[in-house]
Amino acid sequence: MKDVRLSIDFGAALAKLAPAQLQGTWQLPAELARLAIAAGASEVDLGIRKACLELAAAGARLDLVVVRDLGTVLDAAAPAASRHRALMSLDERGALALAALATLPWRRLLLESGGPQGWTLAAAAGGRPRLRHGCGAPGLAVSLTGLRLDAAAATRWLERNGRFAPVPIRIAGRPIARGFRRPLIRTRVHEPLPAVLALAAHGETPRLWLLEHGIISTRATVPGYPAFEAAVEMAGVAPPGASPAAMREAIQPFLEALIAEAVDLVAGLARRAELLRPDARERAARLLLEAARRDRFRRLLAAIPVFPTLTGGERRWASIADLEALSRDGGRRGDGRPLAALAADQDPRLYVTGPRPLLLLGHAERALLGEILGVAFTTPPARPRPRRSLRRLAGAVLGRLAYAWQRLRRGVVGEAALAAGERTFLDAVRQAGAAPWPRAVDFCAGGSRIHLTGDGRLLLPRAHPTVEAAVQAVAHDPSWLYPALVALLGGRELPAEAVREAWQGARGPHGATPAASP
């Protein structure tokens, strides 16, 4: 038998190493953009066509060692050992795009970098690359012709994966969209890793976009937390050119801190609940509740008022702690009354609202609150529908006519001619501010019917038993003005709430506000 030396198939290495790490050749423009950003570009312009790829990166300075390595790799006449060493060097530096150039078919390649130590690397298919120093345009320029490239796929890939680039990227002069589109809130953090965090209006699962030099390399999801989006820069954490698996592995130690930052962002959004649109407010409340499911975040979030309530007809904001306190006040199912809640599409005016806050919560918020606090909700009872009878309408019209007739027939008694009790009654009406019901009160002679006009004028026959009793009652106790007016208005209207409050104030609490539902 024989001895053989273990060897390296450089041809195979050259052919496989870069393509084996790329999704496809259409990834090349994005990788070139990554390279330019890593080299310090302040903006990147790309021209992507079927047979031509051009890149111009202002401010980028590619390390000359990298360029020399590329030249060596492309030099088919160079010793295999050198080419392999150069390829491994490119690979170690994460210059995947340049390593890939060695395997792709192209006709001409031109790399230029300006500045005092400028250089130009030019190569043609089949020929030896030439590296010249002291020339070249400012920044970094790459031109590749004769390339077979799926331009549409390459553009799409770059548009998708270059959104979080720290510098503007343009394709054929048109800037690609950057960042998250219309997030509810976004923030940039530097610890534990440089990242942009955002809360989107939709989505259920937190998503991390792992970037290397601003270009997305891979992504990860973190279920079980409030849905947030994070574009995390991994350069410096993962080795250059790290595989997607290595990236995902590298992010693991930082997840907890990133989630904490995201929860802070949720808290920040929730604190602005009053200023948010209803759908955004609901989203913020939901995210807050999702985060509050974890005990370690609950303390931070418990005091943030994010849940709208109606208390005595007034809109207020309640926090988890407030609701917890309310639930302790008999909110748990079986212990007492559940909390009254209405959904956003239910009109609170149609329901009986009690002294306790009426919560305005969506299904998701209720379900999460139920899970977190064990609190039960119930819909408050609907108000009885007001009666609208034709008779009432006709009465209002006829009342005015009857009032006019009575005034003509009986004549209004002047104030000077009124008895003391009657003047006291009139004074009480005026002082109580009972208007518009009645807006004005006149006494007339006789004991026929009491008349009320549609605009609140009350004509009281002085000899009418009810009028006499009312005058006496008010003279005896001014708080009786309320039942007196209720009786005199004849069931057509009620006096002002102030009159009722005076009556109740004189007799102790009676519950002026509508009842809460059990």
Partner: protein, 958 residues
């Protein structure tokens, strides 16, 4: 030319650099070794672990095709070189995977290998990895890798090492598969089998399952299982070898960062289930393209298809789980299905108005075509039945075929044959179960049967390899029986059980296993395993006389090697004798037979025949060319049972004395031969269904009457209908899953109810879950009314109208409300509790407690009389409350008036006022109640006016 080899670089450094790409797991090299074994066609991989004072070692031995020394030099010992680059069925292709063994930090690597044809060799690599010295080595075909290192931990025991290795191999390769060439030459698809991996003899392979509820699915090129658990997890495998783990399907596919922001939120993301029923998914595909170091897979359409399939299966699983928990009524099922269709329709055609218009036009055209065609055919409904697959097939007990088989002859198609009461495992294998051997079909004495008498001991085999063995179970008729055995297998006599008891088996004249004393209804179970032909002479001898017309073929075949000879013989016969079983063909055949031609020659004469005739000719041809061959008659097994009807095929002996299969009838589809014992009905004109996967599906199909040329539109409509039916059937494949926890997790208590509650809660919390029509429209929310339930959709609608109630106690109020048809959720169930909480259903238990504590003293009586006089529909009662008032809306329940409950203490009403109330007390109470009830001002005024007047007059009137 440039030298492709770079000899002055350190091989070790480069290999180490590549090995570090494989991530942080030090055992990742085991996956690469498994992958290499799989790619080498191994059926078995044995990993053994040893540890002692001087070090630890791992040995990986496979029975694959092995390597020649030259192959190893060219590919194994040359980094980045791979022999698998152009073979899409191979997993490895980068030429670096093997060297991940350096992660083990071996001080010594020994590689032994022996190809199937050639001598064995071994190489011992030293630590520097500079050269390899080949030495001869005696071993079985295959490859063995030995890795030795110094002990890393003096305290670590061999068991610890073995445990770690087993865990790693299990993690990476528990679903590993291999593809083996089928036994049947015409079966084009390669068959997938488990790769039998053992670690210290302990098998690693497991079925791709998950704890219930779970659903296994298999499509072309992919398989997987979806289940529901407590933690979301997705595991991705390529060719059964682990690639990566993720927490959601969404994570696997490339996505636009804007996705989910631009859309409505519905349908843009995968199914996001609540944590308590989180999706657990295992996916495997042989179509995936892995990146270097298997760090990820490429974003190909295969990956997207895999993810899409898994999402659908997950949705299906949930739907099935829901249906199993609460079987829907027929109406609900139809409604759910319609909702699904509507949802798919909306999802598919949401953005494209032109597409909608086009489809609508097409649909209109089809409808119009149908109407026109119908009219053209007379509109009488007399259209001929088309492609009506016949219904259920009766089961038939197994009887010996000797008395029933009449020899090779052409029979016309008769009614559908019954299905045999025979099942086998593993179900995924396609088997040719031979029940009768015809050694020389050309010289078959017509009307006679092969002798059915014991002919000595049966030389069976022992089934040791569960992967290769087949277990057969059948129900018998009485009498001696030849037992069906897959071609190439022999029966394991030790395994035979007759009604559960061991029973001997003897040999028939043709060497078949014979069961002598079976009775009607007996159950026989036995195992078979692959084994060579034990008899050196068996095969019935060779023929000298070539069938008429095949002499030239025979001469040509004699020059060919065995496999080519068989292939050519099959092709020659299939070219000359077309498969046909029509009445006309039979008439021709009988006419030829009447002229004195023997059965096979008659078939050659008319150019038509069925499977036993065609394959009888192949047997005759092979036997004249020196191949030991015979005709096998029996059954084709698919999916764990046999296809109705008989089939005949060729068995021939290969160089290893193993019986192999050839079949000339698969060019034209095979058909069942009508067993004579089966009463033949009136023969139906018919052709056979097209072959599927190389095997005829023995399903007769009625042929439509020739369509009128005046009705092309009807044909279009019919074609559309058939297409739709096809699509429907394609999607209606049998389901392989389990919803019952007992199936495979005996220690786990059932959580079905909890899971359903979690799903409902999830649907309330996550709008995305409402995309499951089955969840939204299924009646899963139990009502207090016995047997009653409502759907989440209905519950939401009622909640919006404030007509959703709940009761955990099921008290009188709840029961009576339910009896009046009100929607009262049973909140004592998890589903009811979750739904009533989320939708804020009115708690009837609280109402009941209030009503029970309420009283109606004279004061309340007077107030209520006032209300009655005023024509009001509400009443007042007094009760101790923790609030000034409460409203119990019994009117909404149909149980009477709305009740306003007031706390007399808070109302400042003393005992005397309650018992002997004044008109002022009445007014005060009524005023308070009206205010609490939230009556409109005008209504309050109307209600209060008279009591106010009474109060005035009583106190101050004259």
């Amino acid at each position: 030319m440039t030298d492709r080899r770079s000899s002055d670089l350190s091989f070790r450094d480069c290999a180490l650099a590549e090995a570090t790409r494989y991530g942080s797991d030090p055992w990742v090299f085991l996956r690469e070794l498994l992958q290499n074994a799989r790619d080498a066609g191994a059926g078995r991989v044995e990993i053994t672990v040893a540890a002692g004072a001087d070090g630890e070692s791992i040995t990986c031995r496979d029975d694959g095709c092995g390597m020649s020394a030259g192959h190893a030099e060219r590919y194994l010992f040359s980094l980045y070189a791979s022999s698998k680059e152009d073979d899409e069925r191979q997993v490895g292709q980068f030429g670096v995977g093997f060297w991940s063994v350096l992660r083990f930090r071996p001080r010594r690597i020994v590689i032994r290998s022996r190809p199937r044809h050639g001598g064995g060799w071994q190489v011992e690599l030293e630590r520097r990895l500079e050269s390899a010295a080949f030495a001869p080595c005696a071993m079985e075909p295959g490859t063995e890798i030995v890795l030795e290192r110094l002990s890393t931990d003096g305290e670590a025991s061999r068991e610890d090492l073995a445990r770690e290795v087993y865990a790693a191999v299990y993690r990476y390769g528990r679903f590993a598969t291999r593809y083996e060439k089928p036994d049947w030459p015409s079966l084009k698809r390669r068959r997938e089998r488990p790769l039998a991996i053992t670690v210290d003899g302990r098998p690693v392979h497991t079925e791709m399952t998950l704890p219930a509820p779970a659903s296994v699915f298999r499509r072309r090129g992919l398989r997987g299982v979806v289940g529901l658990g407590t933690e979301p997890q997705v595991e991705l495998f390529a060719n059964g070898l682990f690639v990566r783990r993720a927490t959601s399907l969404d994570e696997l596919v490339d996505a636009d960062p804007l996705r989910g922001e631009q859309g409505s939120g519905d349908g843009d993301e995968g199914l996001d289930l609540p944590a308590s029923v989180a999706p657990r998914i295992v996916l495997d595909s042989r179509e995936l393209e892995v990146l270097l170091a298997r760090s990820d897979v490429r974003q190909t359409r295969h990956l997207r298809r895999l993810v899409l399939t898994a999402e659908r299966e997950l949705a299906r699983l949930i739907e099935r789980q829901l249906r199993a928990l609460r079987p829907p009524s027929a109406f609900a099922a139809v409604r759910t299905r319609l909702a699904e269709l509507a949802q798919r329709w909306r999802a598919a055609f949401r953005p494209a108005l032109p597409a909608r218009v086009l489809l609508a036009a097409l649909a209109g055209g089809v409808v119009a075509g149908t109407v026109v065609g119908w009219a053209a055919l007379g509109g009488s409904g007399a259209m001929a039945p088309v492609a009506s697959v016949q219904g259920e097939v009766a089961l038939e007990r197994y009887a010996d075929l000797g008395a029933r088989y009449r020899g090779p002859r052409l029979d016309s198609m008769v009614g559908q044959a019954p299905r045999l009461a025979l099942i086998y495992e593993p179900r995924d294998r396609v088997l040719f179960l031979k029940a009768l051997t015809i050694d020389d079909p050309a010289n078959w004495p017509e009307g006679s049967a092969p002798q059915l008498s014991p002919w000595g001991d049966y030389a069976g085999t022992r089934c040791r390899d569960p992967q290769a063995c087949v277990t057969v179970r059948l129900m018998t008729e009485s009498g001696p029986l030849r037992l069906p055995v897959p071609t190439g297998h022999r029966l394991d006599p030790e395994s035979l059980r007759l009604n559960g008891n061991h029973h001997p088996v003897v040999r028939s004249l043709q060497g078949e296993p014979l069961l002598l004393d079976a009775h009607q209804g007996d159950t026989v179970e036995y195992q078979t395993g692959p084994a060579p032909e034990p008899s050196p002479t068996h095969g019935g001898g060779l023929r000298r006389d070539v069938p008429l017309g095949l002499e030239e073929v025979a001469d040509r075949l004699r020059e060919l090697p065995l496999d080519a000879r068989v292939k050519e013989a099959v092709a020659a016969v299939a070219d000359r004798v077309r498969y046909s079983r029509t009445e006309a063909a039979q008439a021709d055949y009988e006419a030829a037979r009447a002229r004195g031609l023997d059965p096979l020659v008659a078939a050659l004469e008319i150019g038509k025949g069925d499977c036993d005739v065609q394959n009888g000719l192949v047997v005759a041809l092979l036997r004249t060319t020196g191949v030991v061959a015979r005709l096998a008659v029996g059954y084709v097994g698919r999916n764990g049972t046999v296809v109705p009807g008989l089939h005949a095929w060729v068995e021939y002996l290969d160089d290893d004395r193993r019986w192999r299969i050839a079949d000339a009838s698969t060019r034209s589809p095979p058909a069942p031969m009508p067993p004579p014992a089966v009463a033949a009905g009136p023969p139906a004109a018919g052709e056979m269904a097209p072959a599927v996967g190389g095997i005829g599906l023995f399903v007769p199909v009625e042929v439509p009457a020739p369509p009128s040329l005046g009705a092309p539109a009807a044909l279009v409509a019919l074609a559309t209908a058939v297409l739709v039916l096809g699509v429907w059937l394609r999607h209606s494949r049998p389901w392989d899953g389990w919803l019952d926890w007992k199936r495979n997790v005996p220690a786990t208590p059932p959580h079905a109810e909890t899971d359903l509650a979690a799903l409902l809660g999830g649907a309330l919390r996550h709008p995305g879950l409402a995309r499951l029509p089955a969840l939204l429209h299924g009646r899963f929310v139990p009502l207090v009314r016995p047997g009653g339930a409502v759907s989440l959709h209905q519950a939401k609608r009622r909640a919006a109208a404030s007509r959703l109630f709940a009761s955990a106690g099921g008290g009188r109020v709840a029961r009576e409300a339910a009896a009046r048809g009100r929607c009262v959720i049973d909140a004592s169930t998890p589903e009811g509790r979750v739904t009533s909480l989320g939708l804020a259903a009115t708690d009837l238990d609280a109402w009941e407690r209030l009503l029970e504590s309420s009283t109606r003293p004279p004061l309340a009586g007077r107030v209520n009389r006032c209300l009655e006089a005023a024509g009001e529909s509400w009443r007042v009662a007094l009760a101790p409350l923790d609030a000034p008032a409460a409203v119990v809306d019994l009117a909404r329940l149909g149980l009477g008036h709305r009740q306003v409950l007031l706390d007399p203490r808070r109302a400042g009403l003393a005992g005397a006022a309650l018992e002997q109330p004044s008109a002022e007390d009445v007014f005060r109470l009524l005023d308070a109640a009206a205010a609490h009830l939230g009556l409109a001002a005008a209504d309050r005024a109307r209600v209060l006016a008279e009591p106010a007047r009474q109060a005035l007059l009583e106190r101050f009137g004259r």
